[in-house]
Each structure stands twice: as structure tokens, then as C-alpha cells.
Symmetry: D2
Subunit: 330 residues, 4 copies
Amino acid sequence: MDIAIIGASGYAGGDLMRLITLHPHTDLTCATSRKLDGTPVSLDQPHLKGFVDITYTNPDVNDIDADVVFLAVPHTVAMQYAGSLHERGIKTVDLSADYRLPQGIYEEIYGVTHTAYFDAPYGLPELHRDAIKKASFIANPGCFPTGAILAAAPVADLAQTIIYDSKTGVSGAGDTVSETTHYPNVADNINPYKWTAHRHLSEMQLEISRLESRASVHFTPHLVPVTRGILTTAHILTERPVTKDEIQMRYRHMYRDEPFIRLQTPKLASVRGTNFCDIAFEVEDGGRRIVAVSVIDNLMKGAAGQAVQNMNIICGFDETEGLLFPAAAP
Amino acid sequence: MDIAIIGASGYAGGDLMRLITLHPHTDLTCATSRKLDGTPVSLDQPHLKGFVDITYTNPDVNDIDADVVFLAVPHTVAMQYAGSLHERGIKTVDLSADYRLPQGIYEEIYGVTHTAYFDAPYGLPELHRDAIKKASFIANPGCFPTGAILAAAPVADLAQTIIYDSKTGVSGAGDTVSETTHYPNVADNINPYKWTAHRHLSEMQLEISRLESRASVHFTPHLVPVTRGILTTAHILTERPVTKDEIQMRYRHMYRDEPFIRLQTPKLASVRGTNFCDIAFEVEDGGRRIVAVSVIDNLMKGAAGQAVQNMNIICGFDETEGLLFPAAAP
Amino acid sequence: MDIAIIGASGYAGGDLMRLITLHPHTDLTCATSRKLDGTPVSLDQPHLKGFVDITYTNPDVNDIDADVVFLAVPHTVAMQYAGSLHERGIKTVDLSADYRLPQGIYEEIYGVTHTAYFDAPYGLPELHRDAIKKASFIANPGCFPTGAILAAAPVADLAQTIIYDSKTGVSGAGDTVSETTHYPNVADNINPYKWTAHRHLSEMQLEISRLESRASVHFTPHLVPVTRGILTTAHILTERPVTKDEIQMRYRHMYRDEPFIRLQTPKLASVRGTNFCDIAFEVEDGGRRIVAVSVIDNLMKGAAGQAVQNMNIICGFDETEGLLFPAAAP
Amino acid sequence: MDIAIIGASGYAGGDLMRLITLHPHTDLTCATSRKLDGTPVSLDQPHLKGFVDITYTNPDVNDIDADVVFLAVPHTVAMQYAGSLHERGIKTVDLSADYRLPQGIYEEIYGVTHTAYFDAPYGLPELHRDAIKKASFIANPGCFPTGAILAAAPVADLAQTIIYDSKTGVSGAGDTVSETTHYPNVADNINPYKWTAHRHLSEMQLEISRLESRASVHFTPHLVPVTRGILTTAHILTERPVTKDEIQMRYRHMYRDEPFIRLQTPKLASVRGTNFCDIAFEVEDGGRRIVAVSVIDNLMKGAAGQAVQNMNIICGFDETEGLLFPAAAP
């Protein structure tokens, strides 16, 4: 199958290209970049030398032809491509935020008018596999929501309050330089940001509410001196005292057959470069607080990996095709 | 004044020696180490070469003579020294946990029998300055409790629930090697530990309760790839809706005259190597959650710096003597 | 083919297990560890959960049965296994130093008596592919020599002096904790060690001399705050002035058909987790100094990856089988 | 004495301000910044809150009035200020490259015309103390040359070839964001740059030649994932075999009375935030190579610290005034 990646020169684009070269049924035929139009991909991303030998292009949206398209562009840019792709029935996984929320919420949170809205399933296969299977356009979840929702999903209906305290690596900020990503500002530091109002909070609230939960959901992200990975600590206050055993049963039950979720001590090194989400939890004495912790690679299960997982589902491949490899640890 | 440091070869000991060399009224006459008895200090801690020219010794407790003694040894070891020093009326600042808690709580939390218990003020000058002034033996607070308590103190009586999510540098684990501190296990990683039951939680609960608070207090620490520094994110659920203005007034009021507390964006680099605690807060929309963040250098305001601050108070020096210098940032 | 890994619990062992799970023709049937005998591999190395489901064992050497054995144990331990494996004709790749040097040099450099010496080809395929093909026991090169020799090989016969200044990640020190690898001693630091007398120097000198070079070879390694990777800066003083063009021709010619050598700007991120060695060079004005720089992943092309490459050769597989995947960058 | 810092908002400017607050005889009266004109210094550099309470200004050069001026601006900008200051006899320490080299060499290396040239002593007190004492305008050395020259000076006349392989922290690149300093490009990486032609090489060559040396001098810098500090490995090939004893005598003799040079194992942590340069060496078997290693803080002995040291000399203060404090290690 021919694959096109729109916005291939960013970090998520780079990991998509890496995954496409590892996938047995796909062929990368188009990698677009506005700023690098005409540059060989492997000059820009030398780790792909020997694997990707095409050149960045910058085609008109209607000239993009492929069996599957990945939109790895920022929000508001994705919607400029989505309409045409959707109409032409081209299978698409959108890594931006443009189709993750109902239109009204989206417009309020992102402060823009949506010019090409339609419904698309939220591409978290662990919660929405059936809806994804039937669709051809998937809204790939945000990196923070992926780890946060998976950490609390098995106990969401027990929760009164969920406070997500997330720690993210710097690659989440993309490959564009800024004060925020200037090495001396990051190294030996921990930077909380958007302490109470990060845009990803809406995705978390929406998904948690869909799990029959009445919990109030809060979220504070922190930038940490790590390149890849998000560790989310979910502080969950429960409506009634719980026991470790019943909580364990819930996690095991929900994730029993999930190929990318492993219930074990969460370490970033265990998931780096892979599509896994490792989760563990503890119950505080008295049973009124659960601390659940998840780790993901923000560029993989938090972006490119989950996008390929969604592609596998909508294309009828085995869901794990091209994604089942362990991390290189340490 | 002559100063003795018991347990000088550790990280807190090293910073105490650094501070004593900077202090105009003190002279380091004794630095003890069991394992390095006979070794010149500057061979062990080369950054002190040219400043500390004495040799580690290992004297009997009753032979320790000084105007002020710092106990920079682990809990249970400190109590072996404390009795003699206390009886002989030697001014002492104990950096261990041995005198921070009422005896019963201490013995339960630390799982040991206290063999030399007496009351000592909790050496957090911002809350207990008057008690410290009258004492000669001070229980220097734990590193986590220092940052955590200061972050929430101004609003403790408004809180229903306080969840401390702390991120600490590796020097907090001391200079003893372990799996936990093995570089490949720390770098590019975030490690939560003692998710619900860290011993420092008791200090936090006790101090918060002393602030006329009925809040339930929780604490989850994380090891981050940073050498020095603790950033504590205090997620505070309030009993009633609050406004940003009233909260701001409370922080300003409580810390108005505090020489080591600065209300500004918390960055580890701003406090590294210094005795400052920088604090800021945000109020979540609706006023039911306050996110307060504090940063300290765990070896300074979290250990050696606060110990010297306490020494200044009990010796009648200006409280800031030898401690008023800015960080070298970045 | 059945694979046994002796000493599987270390970092090189971990990467060997990862590679065996990725290889289409191999099956891991035995992973030994003295200290973890009886422990499931995936409890010790959680990144392998779902991929390796066997348990560490500690069999007698004569009971080890497999088509290929990897010796991932320290020097002097490898020779305890090698004799039996060699006699029984079991294909073996030895990652230790025990068979890399002629017996006399080995005994002098390592200060021990070799109790089971025999000749084995030096497993650097780029230089000794033919000899490796004919052998069944291969001495896998050291991590530093691999990067160093490959950096200078094309110009070794032009060199008067080669000074290797290498920068290595901490995983090269293994998974055993020590002062050297204690996080606060590594982070924000650069530590030269064995400034003039690292044991790997002998391998470099021997291999460079085999390239018809009369150069004197020197080597100073540095530990840097990186987990994986070695960057070697080869400062090459030439016997006569050279031009950039002739040097470029030499590099291109020698490495034209090498599947794991790429002539491009060396970045650790481009080779991390992979078997690639990326090399570039510059000629100093006047043509009397060449600066050649190579990067490898010390656990891959510097250990496990090259070992699998050697296994492929001695087993008659395609040399790149199971090893052709790009790095996850950044 | 009143101090003005031109270009105070950069990293060197920040450290100059820190040092001025620690100095007993100086008062910061002017801190200029073009882009931050009107901003309180402590808003921009929060670590200085409570120590520096002035606001950045942007005065005309002729309106700058102070007893001492520090020029912490880029090369070519410094010369726009130097003429006026020099004519008006205002004591000045220039941290840029504009007055470090003879005019002809400067213009060739930097590719610009010097519009306000005059002779100024090279401000390396260990080599040029007498010349500095008599001057009022000092050319503060580059960060790399400082560490490199001090490492080899005692044996320069014995050297045939000196190859400097330097490893520098990222703060040396300044506070301006770029691809080079983007966290994911630096972390877990080692980046050689200007492999054979860094501009600082000229300073090294000039100073080494002034030490009666005929050595050819080469220099390759590397960016390492460290914020502050330069470690320089000097690979020195000698004209004749040397012994460890004679070399030791030379280092001890030359640096016997130097207040900021310590002959001990070089660790970045030992000098971080301070004006010290720690140096050690080894002689290779056979005596034909010396490996000398120096560490400095690039912003201190490599910039602001040395500038204050020079200020002390030209103002007649004790040379160590305000600079004698130990590092906070680890």
C-alpha cells in the first residue's frame, strides 16, 4: 500500500517514516514538507539514510494520491487537507487535534473556527476499536491524553477526582527551536507549564466522562530533561474506599487482551521507541486514593505508533503489524 | 565560633563545609567520617581544595568539642550523638529525622525505638522562628517537607485535600552508590518511588495540621535526571471557591518579610546552590483547585542551608549571615 | 536455530536478546545468569516483556547445547566456556577480550594467564570478512576499537600518528553500580580515564599495523553523560600532505559495499539502538592533519549488533539479517 | 566603584552581575540591553532577584559613565564602544574577541575590518600579569583558549605538536536559541564542530608561540550535554622523551603561586560557578606523549570570572577579591 505523510519533516513525521520502513505491507511514496521541498529526506533525517531514499515534496492537496495518508501537521493546517481526503475516501489518520473534539468544544478550546468539520472516531483503540474499524478517517489522540486516559480508565467510574501530573520529554515540543527547548533552560530543570489550562485537558475530560465517570479531571504538565517519553502520575481520589485486589482485577480485566498495554513497573526506557504503554498502580492506605502511573513514548503510542496502529485497523491488517518490537534499553 | 560537622563526607556535609567557609563568624575545626578517618577533606571533596585544609577524624562523641555541632548522619545514628550534646548544652542542628516527629509517630514511621528522645523545635524558621530562637537543639526539616510545606502554608486552612507531587534530583539519595542512582537507570527517565508511603509524609501532615488545616495530605515523590533540586507541585483542592486575588494576598502576606522566600516563577536554576525557596501559584478556573509550585535546592534550603539558617538564629547572628548569595544560572 | 546467551543479564546480553527476538531464523532457548538463576528474564529486563518468556538458568558449561552460543561474560570467564564449546564445534561469538589478541600480548595487557588459548579471527567484518566466514569461533571486537579502527582504516597507511580521543556513554561500564556510574558523578561532567593506558589500545595498535601502517597509535577515553554511544575523534597526523579529494576517495572506496557503514555527519542519535557506524572526516588546511569522526552504539556495533553480524556470517545467513532497521531519532 | 556592564542580558552578563553583587568594592549602576531596554534585570534573570534591582537601559556609548566598564557584547559590537571608552580613559575589560589578536590576524580570522584598533594586553593573568597591571583596557581571553593554554603552558617549549580536543557545555553558545542548542539535538549526543578551523585556534597558537614553543597547534571542539564547563584534553607530542617527575616539577613551578589554578584531578563540578582552573597530566609510557587535562567554567574563568580578576588587577584590588569561593558540588 502506498503511504503519504503530510508534514514529514517533524519528529512525528520522522517516526512515521521509520515505522513505514519496518512495516511489511506499506511503501512510502510521498513525504511532504513546505520548508524542505526538494531536499532528500535522509539529508534532513540522517538516521533514515539507507531506508528512505525519496525527496520532500510540497504537492497541492488534490494531487496527493495514496492508499493511506498521515496528517502530521499542526492543528488548523490538518483541516485544510482533511476535507479533500475525506471526500475522495482516502484512508487518513490525522495526528493533529482538529478532529478529536466535538466542533463546539474544539472551537472554544483552540480559539479558531473549524472550516471543515465532520465526525471522526477518537483513535484510542483500547477504548474505541469498533468505531475505528468502521471508519476511514481517524482522529489520533494527543500524547498526554493517551497516557492519562489509559492510566485511569479501569477505575474512572470509581473516581471522584482525577489529578493528572504529567512529565514529558522535550521532543513533544517538536523540532522548532524556542526558549522553551533551549538546552540550558531544560537541562537540570523541571518546568511546569499551562498549570491548569492545557488544551489536552478537554480530551481527557471527554474520554473519562464516556467511561461512566462523574470525576472532575485536572491536569498539570511538566517539561523534564528527557528527549522521548511521558510519565503520567494519576492521583485518583475515589468515591468509596477500595481494595488493592479489586483494583488489580479491574486493570487486568480491561487490558487482558491488549497487545500494547503491559501491567508492570513503568520505566521510560522500557517503552522508548515502541508503541507500548506500561502501567502500574498503588492503593493508598485506607483505600481513598489510587496512584496509577503510565509511561509511553510520546512520539510512538503518543503519536506515530498509535497512528500506525490505527492504520492497521482501518486497513484490515493485524493491529500489531510492524509495531511488535522491544525497546533498546537502557 | 568553632564548628564540628558529624558525618561530613556526605553531600549535606560537603555543603555545610562550603557554607562554613563562606560564613564570617565560623571556623570549621572538626569534620568526622567513619570510613574516611585520616583522609584530607580536600582529597575526598576536591571542590573544597584551598578552602578546607583539615582531615577527617572519627572522635568519640564525648570528645567532640565545638560551639556548634551539625549532625549530618542518618537517622538512628544522630540519636547516638544527640544525648551527650544536649546534656552538655552544645548548640546542635540535627539534619536527620530523629527529632522531627513526636516520639510515638517517629517510632511507628521509622520502625525503630528512639533511645534518646527529647523535644526539639522543628527547624522551619518561616513557621517556627520563635521556638527556634529559644532552643539550643534544632530538628532540621526533611528536604521534601521543606518545599512542600512552604508551598501550601499560606492556604493550608482553606484546603480539603493536598496532593504533593514532588520531583527530586539524585543528590537527595546521597553519595552511596545503588541501582537507584546508576546513571543509565536515571538518565532519560522519571522514577516514582514510595508512591503512597514516603516517610516524609508524616512531617508534612503534622505541619499542615498545625496550620489549622483539616486537609488530608498525600505525597508521591519522583526521581528525575537532575543532580540538585526539588520541585514540588502542590495540587490543592479547596473547601470553597477561591479567587486569585485573595490567594495572592495570602502568599504575599505570609512571606512578606522572609529573606529566603521569593514569589516568582520557580526554576531550579534560580535556587541551585542557594538557600532560596521560590514559589508561585495558579488558581484553576472555578476556584476549586490551587496549583502551587515551589523549588528549593535539596542540599541547601532542604538541608545544609537551612541548617546554617537555624545556626544563625540560635547563635544570635543575623539570620541571613553567610547565606545571601545568588545562584549561578544557568 | 537455537541460541544460547551466556551472561544474558548484562547490557550486552539484553541487547542480544532483543536482536534474537527480531531475527527471523533464531530462537532463544537459553539465557544464563549466575546471580539471577531462576528469575524470569522479563522481570529483570522489563522492556523484553512479551518478547522473551524464558527464565535465567545457570547450567554447567558442558550442558549448554545450542546451534550458536554468545559469550557475554567478562574476560577470564569467557575462556572457561570457550574450550568446551570450541571442542564440541559449537558456533560461538565471544564478546569478551579473551581471544582478541595473540596470547602473549593478551597475558601482558590483562595480567592473567590464558588457560584455554586458540586462534580466532578478529570479528570486524569490514576488515576480516573472509577469515570470519571460515571460522566457527569469533572474537568480537571491543567497543572502542570498533569505532576507532573503522574511523582511520582508509588512511592508516598514510598516518604517522593517530590519537584517538573517544567519548563513551555510561552503558559501556555495564550494569554494575560503582562510584564511576553514580549519577551525580556523571551528569554535567566529562571524565577522562586511563588517559594513556586503556586495554583497548592494544587492539587498535594491532589492527592499524595490519593495515600496512607504521603509525604510532594513542588512545584517551572519556566518560560522558550519555547512556549509549561512542563518538571517537581520530586526530591523524599524516606522513605527507594530503588533499580532501584523495581522502574522500579512499573512504568511499573502502566502505562502498559495507552495509553498516554510512559516510555522513556522525550523530549518536542516528546510530542509537542500531548496528550502524557513521563516519565523516575533514582535512586541516595544509593537509597534515585529518580529523575523522565515527559514531557507533557501544552495545550494538560495539557489542551485540556486531556479534549478530558475525553470527550471520558464520551461519551463512545474509550478513544484515535481523539488523537492518533505522534508529529512533531523536 | 561604579560598574557598567554593556550587554548584560546574556549569560556572561548574568555572571558578571552575580559577581559584582558578591564583590565588596563594587556597585552595579548600569546594565545595558538593546532588546530588554526598560525591563527589570530580575524579571529577565530571576536568580538575581533580591540582589540586582536596576533595570536594563540602552544608553548612547558616550553617556556611559562608570569607573569600570565590562563589554559583554559580540565581536564587532565591542569595537563600537571601545574607542570612546579608551579615549576617555575608562577602565574596561572587553570579553569579546575584538582586541585579542594583532589587527591583521584578527581581520583575516574574523573576516571583518577593525574600525577602532589599538593594542591591549591579553588578559590571561597567569601569563601576562605585569602587562595587565599597567593597562586600562584588557582583552579578556576566549573560553577555549583559557583552558587550553593553561593546560599546556608549562610544557609548551617541549612540544612538537599540541592537539587540543575540547568538550564544552552549551552555555558557551549563549542564550540565543538555535538548532545547535535545541535540547533534543544536544542531549545524549556529542557534537564536534569546526573540526579544524575554530576561530579560537589563533589565540592558542599565538600564546603558545609566545612561550618559546615551535609546536604546531591544532584544535577540535565538541559540544557536550553539559550546561557549564569546558574540559580540554591536550594531547602533547614532545620533541624528546620526558619523565613524569620533570613534567610535574614544571607544572608545580609555574602554578605555585597562582590563586586560581589547582593541580588536581579535573572535574567540572569542582570548578562550576567559580574562577578556578583545575589541571592534571599523565605521561605516556616512553615519554613521547603528555596528556594534560584542564577544566574551567566557561562563563567564569572562561569569561566573567577572569574579567573580574582582570578588573581587580587594573583597579589595584587584591586579585582574588570577590572571587574566592568554592563550587557547590555535586
